[in-house]
């Protein structure tokens, strides 16, 4: 059974179709890249999987639990980090981790927080308010929060966008470790094609709310006559129709 199963997912805002009937799965230990130009429907898709946006059609299940009919149970098996959603700046790092750990009913919470503070190099920021941290440090706090409950499904929306290359590499390593060691699967959006190629087992290219291409990021460019994933990305963004014809 897949960790995440999305079927016929659709979201329409007024006249604009943001997500147009997409279906995909994420398996255990799998890192799936959700790629596409701005406005392709990536964040809308993630918001629907998080249960904070109601789809107009389609179903989403996490570990076989429908997220709307079994909200709490399904959502407790997931977690997320998004570059545009920092944790409250008026609480300290430790307080934020405690609050969110309690909301996810994490057992042995104090030990778990200590472990994550060490793992994400946040020990020295433990009692600092999140609002005074640099954007890179805030991202690390958000990533630590996303792993509090050892989720079966980890949703990451541009998690390395504000990190320096060295820290971004460390973060990629930690997420790969997470996918290998835990049961969890990862759905990842990024505009850094080098990173996607390095980390993801599979990618889905979204364009105008539809999944245009799907495959292994290492072999997909050649299948469409492109040298790199970045070239393929640009083609998806500029000439999606030419790829649909292939």
């Amino acid at each position: 059974m897949p960790i995440l199963s999305v079927s016929g997912l659709k979201k329409v805002y007024d006249d604009i179709i943001a997500v147009d009937g997409i279906s995909f799965d994420v398996a255990s230990h799998e890192i799936v890249g959700l790629l596409g130009p701005n406005g392709a429907g990536k964040t809308t898709t993630i918001d629907m999987i998080l249960g904070v946006l109601k789809p107009d059609a389609g179903t989403i299940s996490i570990d076989g639990l429908d997220i709307f009919s079994h909200r709490s149970e399904a959502i407790s098996r997931t977690n997320f980090s998004a570059v545009y959603t920092p944790l409250p700046g008026n609480l300290t790092v430790a307080q934020n981790l405690r609050i969110f750990g309690r909301l996810y009913s994490v057992s042995n919470l104090s030990e778990r927080i200590e472990d994550l503070l060490v793992r994400f190099d946040l020990v020295k920021f433990r009692d600092k308010k999140c609002g005074v941290l640099s954007s890179g440090e805030q991202t690390r706090v958000s990533l630590a929060k996303s792993m509090l409950n050892s989720p079966n499904l980890l949703l990451l929306d541009e998690p390395t966008a504000s990190l320096d290359p060295a820290t971004a590499r460390d973060v990629r390593l930690k997420i790969r470790e997470f996918a290998e060691e835990c049961k969890g699967g990862v759905l990842w959006t990024s505009h850094n094609m080098y990173e996607v190629e390095d980390v993801c087992n599979r990618v889905l290219f979204l364009s105008h709310g539809k999944i245009l291409l799907e495959g292994n990021p290492k072999t997909l460019p050649a299948e469409y006559g492109k040298k790199t994933l970045e070239e393929l990305f640009i083609a998806v963004a500029r000439e999606p129709l030419s790829l649909e014809e292939n």
Partner: protein
């Protein structure tokens, strides 16, 4: 419903209060200002009135009860505004937290902060102006209960309004107690009001509290049926306010408002 998640909402507010003088200060500052202003006014009125009428329980007591009501309401809305101000909706509503748990957490937060305010009120009123809430006998308990329940209902209603209209609309919420106060007769009997205002008064539960308070001071009995009606009205308003909040939350889930809550996205 998870008690642990409800208490987490309370814990979050306690963390914020503990670490911030600007959050502690309002818990007693306005109460103190009202105490001093109305305390000295009633002392002056007592000295010039020839009737021997004691203005302390009639005016200062009424003002303190009204402050208690306002604190209850603001206790709910401020806990909600903390999520608005820190743009925390996406984080918090993407957790297993249920909307019923969230609203319960806001209410419980308000209970704790308001009890602290009530305690401060009682200490100041007793020590500075010799006012004891027990001057109203055991009726003080139903009075406080009705004001508490109605404060909760308005707090939930105000939060629902801000969720729907956006952060800038918080300025609609702050004046609500001031707008209601002329109708409920905090300082005067509602018979003073024109008929249309009296009609509004009758559907506002605090009216029955302040009419009852004045009845006790003038040696009359308080019709218990009127306080029962006030409590029943308050429960109905809580139920309706909660329904409104849930409806707006579900509408926000559909429109994408929860995911992108900001002044720009909703105004």
């Amino acid at each position: 419903m998870s008690l642990n998640r409800i208490l987490t909402i309370v814990l979050r507010q306690l963390y914020l209060i503990r670490g911030s003088f600007s959050r502690v200060f309002p818990l007693f500052a306005w109460i103190g200002v009202d105490m001093i202003l109305w305390g000295f006014l009633t002392r002056y009125l007592n000295s010039v009135a020839s009737s021997g009428f004691n203005f302390v329980p009639a005016l200062l007591g009424a003002v303190l009860l009204w402050d208690f009501f306002a604190r209850i309401m603001q206790g709910v809305t401020i806990a909600f505004f903390e999520d608005v101000w820190s743009r925390n909706f996406l984080n918090i509503f993407a957790t297993p937290l249920l909307i019923s748990e969230y609203v319960s957490g806001l209410v419980l937060t308000s209970v704790l902060t308001s009890l602290l305010g009530l305690l401060i009120m009682l200490v100041l009123a007793t020590t500075l102006f010799n006012l004891s809430f027990f001057a109203y006998g055991f009726m003080i308990f139903p009075f406080l209960l009705v004001l508490f329940l109605f404060g909760i209902s308005l707090g939930i209603f105000g939060s629902a309004l801000v969720l729907r209209l956006g952060p800038a609309s918080e300025w609609f919420i702050w004046p609500i107690p001031a707008i209601i106060s002329p109708f409920v007769g905090v300082l005067y009997p509602i018979s003073t009001l024109p008929d249309w205002m009296q009609a509004v008064s009758r559907i506002l539960p605090p009216t029955y509290v302040f009419e009852g308070l004045r009845a006790i001071i003038t040696g009359k009995s308080v019709p218990l049926i009127s306080l029962a009606l006030a409590a029943a009205l308050s429960f109905i308003y809580i139920f309706l306010a909660y329904l409104l909040f849930v409806r707006i939350y579900h509408s926000a889930l559909k429109s994408g408002l929860i995911a992108r809550y900001s002044a720009e996205s909703v105004s």
